[in-house]
Assembly symmetry: C2
Homo-oligomer: 316 residues x 2
């Protein structure tokens, strides 16, 4: 944590420029100093590191292997510091960019419709969305926070539960009306169960909760994403088990019908996750407060019997 072995930025900047121009003289021009100053900086840097960065071959400079590797890494570091500083100057410290990873269907059907409210409340914060289906690494990806689905163990991060998920079986009204009636779970035997690849145990859990054991829960076409399985259900390909809140529109317009009245609450949930070292990022905390409020409002609508989730977050 202590940056003892980092050479001075003057030295690194001088080295970077020299390597880019392959000339101390040109570097000196660019940096508005004399060639002598550049020559000395490089030499001192080399002495300090104990490694030659340039070979001086007949009045010409050639990067050594060490120098060639080092300059690439140094450039990354300087770029980062430059970007940080320019960003600070641009936004004057308030607001700024927030890069959020999000599941695609959750993003398009839940988050984005609400995001306008956040933006108007906090015009200084610029939320950028990127979709991720699989888990990723905060270390290597530069994402500020993520909304994902699962349970809350993700080491090195802080998770806030947003909402659970009510799974309901739905199908197109054509299926519901035209063919065999579906009155009890067993009647699903004669229908195609649409499968979501990221939730392989969805039907199994649901059927078990209904004490229905003689239906193969894994048979049926598999889909990658929610929006694909929603489309499949809309076109009458079969029965899908979907979170109620993602198909609110389709249900209210009668494009999909719910097959049984009661819903099943899965054990997994949606979480906001962010790395521990971003705990102190003001714009992230602002977003978090807003998101938790929206989620708790959502929970109250979708499961009035459950506790008000605001109680879980006394700090908002």
């Amino acid at each position: 944590m202590i940056y003892r072995y980092v050479p001075s930025l003057t030295a690194l900047r001088t080295f970077e420029s020299s390597a880019r121009h392959m000339s101390f003289t040109k570097a000196a021009e660019e940096l508005n100093v004399t060639q002598s100053a550049v020559s000395r900086q490089i030499r001192q840097l080399e002495d300090e590191l104990g490694i030659r960065l340039f070979e001086r071959v007949r009045q010409r400079l050639v990067l050594t292997e060490a120098g060639a590797s080092y300059v690439l890494e140094v450039r990354k570091g300087l770029d980062q510091l430059k970007a940080a500083t320019l960003n600070l100057l641009a936004y004057q410290g308030v607001g700024g960019e927030l890069l959020l990873a999000c599941l695609p269907t959750f993003g398009s059907r839940w988050l984005i419709p609400r995001l306008g409210r956040f933006t108007s409340q906090h015009p200084e914060i610029n939320v950028n969305l990127v979709t991720r289906i699989e888990a990723f690494n905060f270390e290597s990806e530069d994402i500020d926070a993520a909304i994902y689905f699962g349970d809350s163990n993700w080491p090195g991060t802080i998770s806030d539960k947003l909402m659970g998920e009510e799974m309901i079986p739905v199908c197109s009204p054509n299926i519901f009306n035209d063919r065999q009636e579906i009155k009890k779970p067993e009647d699903l035997r004669h229908h195609t169960l649409l499968q979501l690849r990221s939730r392989p145990y969805a039907w199994q859990e649901w059927l078990k909760s209904k004490d229905t054991h003689d239906i193969n829960p894994a048979a049926g076409p598999k889909f990658e994403q929610f929006h694909m399985i929603i489309n499949a259900a809309l076109t009458g390909l079969g029965v899908a088990l979907l979170p109620a809140f993602l198909i609110k529109e389709e249900l209210s317009q009668g494009l999909l019908v719910q097959l049984f009245e009661d819903s099943v609450r899965g054990r997994n949930a949606y979480y906001l996750v962010y790395p521990e070292n971003k705990r102190g990022l003001p714009r992230l905390q602002t977003f978090r407060r807003w998101l938790l409020r929206e989620a708790s409002r959502h929970e109250m609508n979708y499961s009035p019997q459950s506790n008000n989730k605001l109680q879980n977050h006394p700090d908002i």
Copy 2:
């Protein structure tokens, strides 16, 4: 490209330490200077940036919003420079780590079996493999180079063609012997065509090259990765269209049989790709030279009629 707006390393280091301890006195201890020096460094940094980083509220320090955001970014930059320097000192500039992204099946069946030779020739270079199925961004991912399949337009990068791909239809010997004989492409009508999700047009291209038009090229179960479709073919689920070199073992052991003698060469190929700014990285160039040689040797085995690909790379 010129790092004019980057404050001095001393200032940034002092700021980082102060923010971590939330105390100028403690930071001074850590940095082995007096509290006075720290106080003035911070003030000067604030003046230079024109933004307050700490609020001094009743002899206590509190980070401003600006300071809280800035310190996170500054820390990243300093970490990068520290890592770069320690790396340089550790490896003394020769060799080092090389992070390579690779398609999973290509990695396990082609690259890894050969990688031992590279490692023994170049023990100073440490090749780390990571698998990627989809395209990614060199900017955000910190990967040195990638082996991918496709055509060679990937902006901002340099590509070297490694090898083409001979697609051959194969199936389990059970299918081949027990059921209807397969003598000509039309006979495939009665068989299941196994599909690979990343090559949706594979069968279509192949059937077209055989002038066979009355078979639906897209029907059949879809698989995510080569190793899955290989397993499916092994267990007799259907006929798969696979690159010959990936199933060398299975063919020679008789676990899979090739259905027709001639092979079809796809228009896509395997490429080594790396970002332009890594052109000068010595360990990458070393790896590249070795890889191109291995690939050309491979090409000579798998397509004796094709040109010796070494001619395409006069610089090795």
